[in-house]
């Protein structure tokens, strides 16, 4: 799907916060706003080997990681994703390895936010640390192709296609601070230590 074919919704640009700008609108022409498209994989326990197989992790090349992201689950995933899109999964997303290459590969593929019912703990931390927002939403009705925006500040996920809003779980303040800084590297550059 090209950007032009995306479902479009009329709407006011929401108040920009650092967070909503991460997961929010990506283009705006006059008063027409396009929202990121959801790629939904309603599967529990998508492990880090399926996100990025171990055989590809030994690299510092982000584009190489992005080209293999989720390939054992959906060989076309990397081709489908456009910058800013949203990945939606079910329970325990990212279980298994501590490889930070997993959220890095997802972020490098263009995904701006991952929505899941629950995340495995190391993946969750890693994603925040590299500045990839992740939100836990227990109940939603998001289907692939739906047009979604995420307000991270208030923990709200809006489905523009179905005109529904879903509540996300609240993150610990420490994580909000790290995410607001743009990730743990920037947080430490700014503060020099944990504060």
């Amino acid at each position: 799907m090209t950007a032009k074919e995306r479902p479009q919704t009329k709407g006011r640009r929401p108040l920009l916060t650092k967070w909503s700008s991460v997961g929010g609108q990506k283009s705006e022409t006059n008063n027409i706003m396009t929202h990121p498209t959801a790629h939904v994989y309603p599967v529990d326990n998508i492990d880090t080997d399926r996100i990025i197989p171990g055989k590809y992790t030994k690299t510092l090349d982000m584009s190489a990681l992005a080209s293999h992201v989720l390939e054992d689950l959906d060989p076309d995933f990397a081709k489908k994703v456009q910058q800013g899109d949203i990945l939606v999964a079910a329970n325990n997303f990212g279980c298994g390895s501590s490889r930070e290459q997993a959220p890095i590969a997802i972020k490098a593929s263009g995904i701006s936010v991952v929505v899941a019912k629950t995340f495995a703990r190391i993946f969750y931390r890693n994603a925040i640390n590299i500045g990839l927002p992740v939100v836990e939403v227990e109940h939603h009705n998001i289907q692939s192709g739906d047009s979604i925006s995420v307000d991270l500040e208030n923990g709200l996920v809006t489905n523009h296609t179905r005109d529904e809003t879903y509540q996300a779980a609240r993150m610990p303040q420490q994580m909000i601070d790290i995410l607001n800084a743009g990730g743990l590297v920037n947080y430490l550059v700014k503060h020099g230590d944990y504060v």
Partner: protein, 408 residues
């Protein structure tokens, strides 16, 4: 305030009493990263403005995941690690020394009561030592390399009590596979598991490491084993939970009737009794990983294979957990028995378990493995089928050419 083991260890490192649910900034006793995670950690460390480590004595880098280097990309990452270690003065375990977790325990870089961070998801292994080992990613690790600290949410704890005498042929691996099935791969997410009970109090350190190691397969932040009966080559003060500590769940199991357990493809929670799988044809048996490749595991395999030959068409690959273990097994004759039976020895390290190299299965091939994960693609080929079992079952299956248990 009654506390769990986690609350006690974290309180000590936070410098104030904490309880489950609190956010704490804690001092860390040591960190380690492997060749799978060091490159990003070193990169993040530099991006954070890191010029020197908070304490170079407390930082270990280990080349074990793709060791020795299978290609030039990995060779260059290894080179970066060697250069970083020279520049920063931290410890480096180069190729062949062993698997990270084995090395940390074997060389006492982690000790009882410690709070230790590893950029590897099997860092909970140190719970066998009564230490709090947390698996983190590269950037978290880099932050600790710089500050000596990390932040964490004090986890709630699930208490697992295991009683009963294990039947002949049943091992810690069978117990933990059974427990992973009972709790599920998400059963302890964001939580800690404490292992206690009569069965566990009698286990060796190596067996305790199997339990703690695979608590990560329940999603646990760490797995802490009751230190009763723990024997170490140095003295230590064991940390026990208070009798009225709070748990989210308390489960009691009697494993006296437990049979050897096998996890079927493609999840470590997909566990059945070996009886359901006897006769499943296999092509490849792997004895290795941070879960099961210590001396007692090699001995279990040698007991099965002594004076015998592998089944025709089956390959058995063995990666001992460390060079020290390999040398011990060499001295006591175990290596000769296994080699005579037809086993192939590879570098001590992770290789086949993480699909890096040194033993990737072919399409449609069936693997019986002593490792911890059988996710699709885990060993490098999404078209292979991986079954997990104990070292004795791996050896017996290699001998029979099909999933089998050792003769009694």
């Amino acid at each position: 305030m009654a506390q769990t083991i986690s609350e006690k260890i974290i309180s000590k490192h936070a410098g104030k009493p904490v309880r489950a649910g609190d956010i704490a900034i804690v001092h860390v006793d040591g960190v380690m990263a492997t060749d799978a995670t060091s490159p990003f950690a070193m990169k993040s460390f530099r991006e954070m403005g890191g010029k020197k480590l908070w304490d170079s004595e407390k930082v270990s880098l280990i080349i074990d995941h793709a060791s020795p280097a299978p290609n030039e990309t990995v060779a260059n990452l290894h080179k970066l690690m060697r250069e970083f270690s020279n520049e920063m003065g931290c410890r480096l375990y180069d190729i062949g020394e062993g698997i990270c977790h084995q090395l940390m325990v074997e060389n006492a870089h982690v000790k009882p009561g410690d709070l230790f961070l590893g950029a590897d998801s099997h860092t909970p292994t140190y719970g066998a030592l009564n230490a709090f080992g947390i698996g983190v990613g590269s950037t978290d690790l880099a932050a600790t390399m710089l500050t000596g600290k990390t932040w964490l949410k004090v986890p709630k704890t699930i208490k697992l009590t295991v009683n009963g005498e294990m039947k002949t042929g049943v091992t810690a691996k069978d117990v933990i596979l059974f427990l992973v099935k009972e709790l599920g791969v998400e059963g302890a997410n964001y939580q800690v598991v404490e292992f206690t009970g009569e069965t566990i109090k009698q286990m060796t350190l190596a067996s305790r490491m199997v339990l703690a190691n695979m608590s990560s397969e329940m999603g646990a932040k760490t797995g802490l084993v009751d230190p009763s009966g723990l024997e170490l080559p140095y003295s230590f003060e064991p940390i026990f939970p208070d009798p009225d500590a709070e748990y989210t769940r308390e489960l009691i199991f009697d494993i006296s009737a437990l049979r050897p357990q096998i996890a079927k493809p493609h999840s470590p929670e997909n566990v059945v009794s070996i009886d359901e799988l006897i006769g499943t044809k296999i092509h490849y048996a792997f004895l290795g990983s941070c879960t099961n490749s210590r001396l007692e595991d090699l001995h279990a395999a040698a007991d099965v294979l002594k004076g015998k030959k592998l089944s025709n068409g089956v390959r058995l690959i063995i990666a001992p957990a460390s060079k020290r273990i390999f040398n011990d097994a060499l001295k006591d004759g175990t290596i000769e028995i296994l080699s005579d039976a037809g086993a192939t020895f590879i570098t001590s390290g992770c290789g086949p378990c993480v699909g890096s190299h040194l033993g990737v299965p072919g399409d449609g091939e069936v693997v019986i493995s002593s490792t911890n994960r059988n996710f699709q693609g885990r060993m490098g080929n999404p078209k292979a089928l991986i079954y997990l079992g104990s070292p004795a079952v791996v050896a017996a299956s290699a001998l029979a050419g099909q999933i089998a248990e050792p003769e009694k």
